[in-house]
């Protein structure tokens, strides 16, 4: 280290101790997040526990429109329409809420003194989200009977307490949400061209990785956009093509969601977990039907190859004017910490070579459209980042495991009647406000 830098190293100010109180608060906050009680990120029971299966649930339909898809599952919902039936696009307005109902099954992993225990836990979820993110939303999670993890006979002790339901008020939060926005108004502003959508998926913080995690991240970001969200048709189509273009992604027709509806899956195998994760789409509308994860590498996943370890179905998507009344005492979710779009002005210093390389902290936050799961709020991608080679490109090993029986969601699924006449909420035309030209076209 040279003298000039040494002067700073030697002259570093003493730092005050980290008070026990503040430390405990920060740690608690982190644990709350880990437990799924985080801020803007929707509490997503199970997403965290879903090993690496970064996918969850989706939707469909007009006010009472069921998902389409070929029904071949043994317990498919009785009223699901055929693929290709015209799908009335939703037209959510500010002030309204998008309600998404889904069944989920994910892995729950626990570390105990005796070692790791696993099981598959299942839920039925209803989530109401403000169309433009301006109002609080609501989340209802009902437990469903868990299943043993594939290859294991018994349920661990912590699987026993699954009965009941929980409500959470989803805090709209006052501060800017920046990259964490996921409301319809925002999603309507995403690109409608596949290449541009791909750029959006890849523009996030590349992280410290020189090893090609960019593809994994892009896939996860796409899932985050889709899960329990609703995108206009043009964005859905663009997103599908963008995901398909991600390195390592394979397209598999005839994959069933947990309600037995078959669609076309885009999937990717994670070397780290040995799982092949798929997003299942309606072949016509590109609505997300559900997610599935199957074991591709039995040694890594420690489960039989082909076994299904996550399976969901997004049963219904609708637009409603009001939230149902949550039980008294319903907890309100926390907000994220700092605003992610800080008012930091762009640097006005004369550009030097160094600055021309756009260091991560230097660019204005507003230059970066939001990306969920960014590891930091305002990280533009450095233009001179090392090329990311697919050094650990996943082994493509799509597993056509037998679709598991529907996860008990048939009651809900069958509650979705065949496509009905669009309600007053369902009209053609662009979404209000944030929708770019040509965004939501039905």
């Amino acid at each position: 280290m040279d003298d000039e830098i040494r002067a700073f190293a030697d002259g570093r100010p003493a730092a005050p101790p980290y008070s026990q109180d503040a430390r405990a608060r920060a740690r608690d906050r982190l644990l709350r997040e880990a437990r799924g009680h985080g801020g803007l990120r929707r509490p997503r029971l199970g997403w965290q526990a879903a090993a690496a299966f970064g996918i969850t649930v989706t939707l469909v339909g007009g006010v009472a429109v069921a998902l389409t898809g070929d029904r071949q599952g043994p317990d498919a919902a009785t009223s699901v329409s055929q693929a290709g039936v015209s799908f009335p696009e939703l037209d959510p307005k500010p002030g309204q809420f998008i309600l998404v109902e889904s069944d989920t099954m994910y892995g729950s992993h626990a570390i105990r003194e005796g070692g790791e225990t696993r099981h598959l836990y299942r839920t039925h979820r209803k989530i109401w989200q403000s169309v433009d993110g301006s109002a609080d939303g609501l989340l209802l999670i009902e437990g469903r009977e868990p299943k043993p993890y594939p290859g294991e006979k018994d349920l661990p002790q912590d699987a026993a307490n699954w009965r009941g339901s929980s409500w959470t008020l989803l805090n709209s939060c006052s501060q800017p949400k920046g990259p964490y926005r996921d409301d319809f108004a925002y999603l309507s502003t995403l690109p409608t061209e596949p290449a541009a959508m791909r750029g959006h998926l890849y523009q996030g913080d590349p992280g410290p990785s020189p090893k090609g995690d960019a593809d994994v991240r892009a896939f996860q970001d796409a899932v985050e956009i889709l899960r329990e969200g609703y995108l206009p048709k043009a964005q859905r189509a663009a997103l599908y093509e963008a995901i398909k273009s991600i390195d390592g992604v394979v397209e598999t027709p005839g994959v069933a969601d947990s309600a037995g509806r078959r669609g076309v899956a885009l999937g990717r195998t994670w070397a780290q977990t040995g799982l092949h994760e798929e997003i299942i789409f309606d072949p016509e509308t590109r609505m997300m039907l559900g997610e599935r994860a199957t074991v591709a590498d039995g040694r890594t996943a420690k489960a039989p190859v082909g076994a299904v370890v996550a399976h969901t179905a997004q049963l219904k998507v609708s637009v409603v004017d009001e939230l149902p009344e949550a039980p008294a005492g319903t907890a309100r979710s926390d907000c994220m910490p700092a605003p992610t779009e800080s008012p930091t002005p762009p640097p006005t210093a004369p550009p030097s070579d160094a600055q021309a390389t756009a260091p991560p902290s230097e660019a204005p936050a507003s230059a970066r459209p939001s990306t969920p799961l960014s590891d930091a709020p305002d990280a533009p991608r450095p233009t001179d980042a090392p090329a990311e080679g697919p050094a650990d490109a996943p082994v493509e090993e799509p597993v056509e495991g037998p679709a598991e029986g529907p996860a008990g969601g048939s009651a809900q699924a069958s509650g979705s009647p065949a496509p009905s006449a669009p309600s007053a909420d369902v009209t053609d035309g662009p979404a209000p406000g944030a929708a770019p030209p040509g965004a939501p076209v039905s």
Partner: protein
Amino acid sequence: MREDRHVVSVRALPDKLDDSELIERSLSDPESFASLFDRHAEEIHRYAARRLGPELADDVTGEVFLAAFRGRARYDRTWPDARPWLYGIATKVVAQHRRAERRRNHALSRVSAERPGTFDERSADRVTAEQLQPRLARALTRLSAAERDLLLLVAWADLTYEEAAVALRVPVGTVRSRLHRLRVKLRRALGGANPFAEESQHG
């Protein structure tokens, strides 16, 4: 059903996991991420306190680990030590408080100006150990934000060039060339012979 029924104890988590393994573990067992907090929170807090002062350090530390948790799936697991990654996040969180940092540095740099006749940096430094030396604070105000980030990662966080490159997501060659320019700039600023123009560079 309670959401936290899946919450699991991490007390049995093996201490021998390195950061990378711990982060991977946290993908399936989110709560185990708390162990990463336990390992590095003090250090990140120190860095935040040095850059922004004690008032903001608590918040910044919490924000850093929340952001890290949310982005943990993207952690490059070829790096066993998570410090560069955490410092990279810290750098971005600090950037959100850039105004506060500027205020702090300007304030500190004025200390000497107000009593120019008696100014003795070494003794002043000893007396106010929690304060940055005025001349250093003054020099900091003359660096661009990116230069300041790099300098302080190397000088205060003790990152190697390679680690700083990881934290800032630039090639290590870029770190070297930036540091070279930085030295020239600092030499002038610290030497006082040709101080930078006094204009505020970043508003």
